[in-house]
Symmetry: D2
Subunit: 292 residues, 4 copies
């Protein structure tokens, strides 16, 4: 099952960072203009504290003089090495492949599948992985492969090796932990650096770890939140992609928070996935630059 959004002409997208220096915007936009590329979006940002330059440019390849397979090489040779640019080049018709990891909660899974089947995202979803059978019926409704791995304390390394093999076989580009209630190992994370998106059910860095709604209730906060972030080896401390919040009151029980939080979680996670798919996120020193 495939969801491909018709996006017209193929576009190239380049994400760049480098030490800040005068002339960077001019240089990059010049590269595109003189080769007859039409810039569709250009956004730059300078982190003045650390003197780092960030940029995302998207351009139409229709009349571009450089063949797409040579763009990376040309840009590297003519600009990147000279200007100390670190860059990633993408093409809009390279459709990323996503794997979902779930446990028992269905709200994020449904939200993702609803968008996917409606063709909202330029992504493929070949596989859903879980540590429980509970959501198999959902995956099957939508005709997507569902694999259960019975993770236990003593077989984690072994299971993860099997999971990685399966992910490689399915040519997965990035992973979404859609309320997957397991901590993944350092080894697993290192296979997919800044390519595993998690949803944490609190307004991080408040309430790291398990049972954040209980902790929020105990602390008596007046607002709860949800946070999507890339997974790093530091638990719940990876680069934040999206956050959102909703107001609560003393009238709300822990169960109310859990219930209301679900709407936050699913929207915040889906927005993060969309930004990732559209190559709008650049990670630098544990913070995200989120281009619009």
């Amino acid at each position: 099952m495939t969801s491909k959004k018709n996006l017209g002409q193929t576009r190239a997208i380049i994400l760049i960072y480098s030490p800040d220096q005068p002339g960077l915007v001019a240089a990059v936009s010049d590269f595109i203009s003189i080769n007859h590329g039409n810039i569709l979006y250009l956004e730059q940002h300078v982190d003045r504290q650390n003197h780092i330059f960030f940029m995302r440019v998207e351009w139409d390849l229709e009349n571009f003089l450089i063949p797409r397979e040579k763009i990376e090489d040309y840009f590297q040779t003519l600009y990147a090495q000279k200007l100390q640019l670190t860059f990633r080049l993408y093409f809009s018709d390279d459709i990323p492949r996503m794997a979902l990891f779930v446990s028992k909660h269905s709200h994020c899974l449904f939200d993702i599948l609803a968008r996917y089947t409606a063709g909202e995202w330029n992504v493929e979803l070949p596989i859903i992985i879980s540590n429980h059978e509970d959501l198999r019926w959902v995956a099957e409704k939508f005709g997507i492969d569902f694999h259960v791995f019975d993770v236990k304390k003593d077989n984690k390394a072994e299971i993860e090796a099997q999971q990685i093999a399966l992910l490689k076989e399915k040519k997965i580009d990035f992973i979404v932990l859609a309320r997957y209630m397991q901590i993944v190992s350092e080894n697993f994370i290192n296979q997919y650096p800044n390519k595993i998106i998690n949803i944490h059910h609190s307004f991080l860095p408040a309430f790291v770890g398990a049972k954040p709604y209980h902790a929020a209730y105990e602390r008596g906060v007046k607002i709860i939140g949800a946070t999507s972030h890339y997974v790093t080896t530091d638990l719940d401390a990876g680069p934040i992609i999206e956050q959102d919040v909703t107001r609560i009151s003393h009238k709300n029980s822990v169960e109310d928070l859990v219930q209301r939080g679900k709407d936050l979680e699913k929207i915040v996670l889906s927005r993060a996935i969309e930004s990732h798919i559209n190559r709008r996120i650049l990670v630098y020193r544990n913070r995200t630059i989120l281009f619009s």
Copy 2:
């Protein structure tokens, strides 16, 4: 200088909590009705986890059969001891007296003074206390006494004793720390339990302590907040009264956060003050019941 809002007839306000048991609403509303009081507002809440009943009732004293000076005694004798109620009784024409503590930032001070001089609040503000001279000109513009106490590491106990003496002399009912950059001692806090309102410039419990905007920037959050709370001996961990948040992005520097945060801080602090003045806050086990 006095700000008194004309609020029509005198009203009585009672705040109650007790172990939950059937018949509490009926009993309390009955007490008022059979004595010809007209209930203006009634709000109750049951904490089902801890089985505690909370209630706030406000009624018109115009035709009330019990003289106001005897209400407390009658209610205690006839209801409270029988039903194990803990209660506080207030009258709308008893105007609370507020002291402000400030340091160098003026935004909260201006916001409070603007509301105070416009007569929005039923409060008296006889005194502003600071550890710096910087904001004397503001206090003087508004004709309010301004006292500077030069707090140092080795004279804190002594200075606080002087401050308490001054607060007692001025018959202060509650204290607002309007970006007062000093930690007050346990002894000071114990003089005004649940009567010292602080504004912390983060979405607590995230970023406790000093320099929360720097910490928020470092962590790369996408939303910042402010929190007003009662001061307890546990730093930044007292009962939360109000919180609010605003969205930020990677484009914002620490200075931007500081600047934007000011609007949050002043509104969140002023809302907490207003709720306190209007006797809408009940504290129970480090959480606030905030009646509407």
Copy 3:
């Protein structure tokens, strides 16, 4: 297919309004207490401008002395006629039956089905009605009857008669227009007064009618919204149940607004449905009292 949330003991819920007068809370809470009912929630509100009293009480029937089938009669005889109360009585184990009307957009439908199949709502959903075949596959995935009525300009009255017959046959209690792109007739509406919930894709009363996102774009607003409301014969002017908003900017095209609006629409509609199911809404003079 049925979704029944286990809610423990059966509870009675009463929604009341009346001309304001002293003693109403005492009278109603007394009725429950003296008959050994345990009040679980009580919320009252007085509209001081129009002198109307509103109340919602929910109590446990476990030890209630009056048999459930006689409560309405007793309350009517002993209280309602004497105090001019208008009331509706519900029981928590009477599960309302909902019909969905859809057209081509799937986002609201998926959100409702996700909650329904997860058992979040105490509701039955026997039927989905549409004017197009497009979403039949979704209904079939979830095993729910899907009926298409080919509404045209000249057959509206006839089609609506068929729809009403079907709704009556299925014993439908209330209807949700989940982005159903047809205007329903006065006759249809009168069959279900305050029982048809619509989602309008704007922050009403701004942008009434068709193509609100285009209108919002043209007007250059910085925030867009969605509104759920009961359908009345006055287009998009019925009592508002829920609204929510999200921030946009000049960067967003009409298509962006349509896309972002979907998340608002589905959450705002689902919240309204939940409030309706839980008997928390009272309509008075085209405004809703939304008990918490």
Copy 4:
């Protein structure tokens, strides 16, 4: 009285719009780079529906080869006429002069004065104009000239002529209507096109005209808002600069809405003023491009 924020080196700011065409970013950034200007901020936006290109660039003049008084001429000759650019050039040390118009409400005035006296804005405020004496005491507290013009139905043209003369004499660059409860004439507006900022106390385009809070209450909305916009001859229909909203409920009276709305109004107006002062707003076809 003057409020000048120390902003370091002088910067040039250019706001541009033009028909969209390839190479615009490259051309403009090149102009700055080849003349040794260091770009501090660059933001561009393309309105794809209307094929219009918008851009804001801010650069450091320290080593810029073109003398500041010749930049406009050079840019016009070398780029603007060739590329059909419409542009406005500003310098960071040209401090704009603002006039305030007020009536009786003090909340916006206090908020503006608090920021102004704290030195938050790079602006001069030589004069406050009113149609009432009520707020003279506020202006006098802050040492700012306060002029009352007794506007009546039959003297409006005459009074406005006097006001314009005064504004010209004081070299006013832009005007802020800080809850000024008068409609200004077409003639007046034409003197200051896109230079008069108004705050309307509703979420426009909902509740245009007088008494929006009453209208919001009657309609039963669940969220209220405030809107700052440039004044055009079409009442409350000028280009929107900023909007914000807050949640209300059936519990809130009209007076509550008025009270809560004040916090929205003052923040939304002050944000608009700040954007205007910082040359971040470009108006095109009754919509604002609000650069960040």
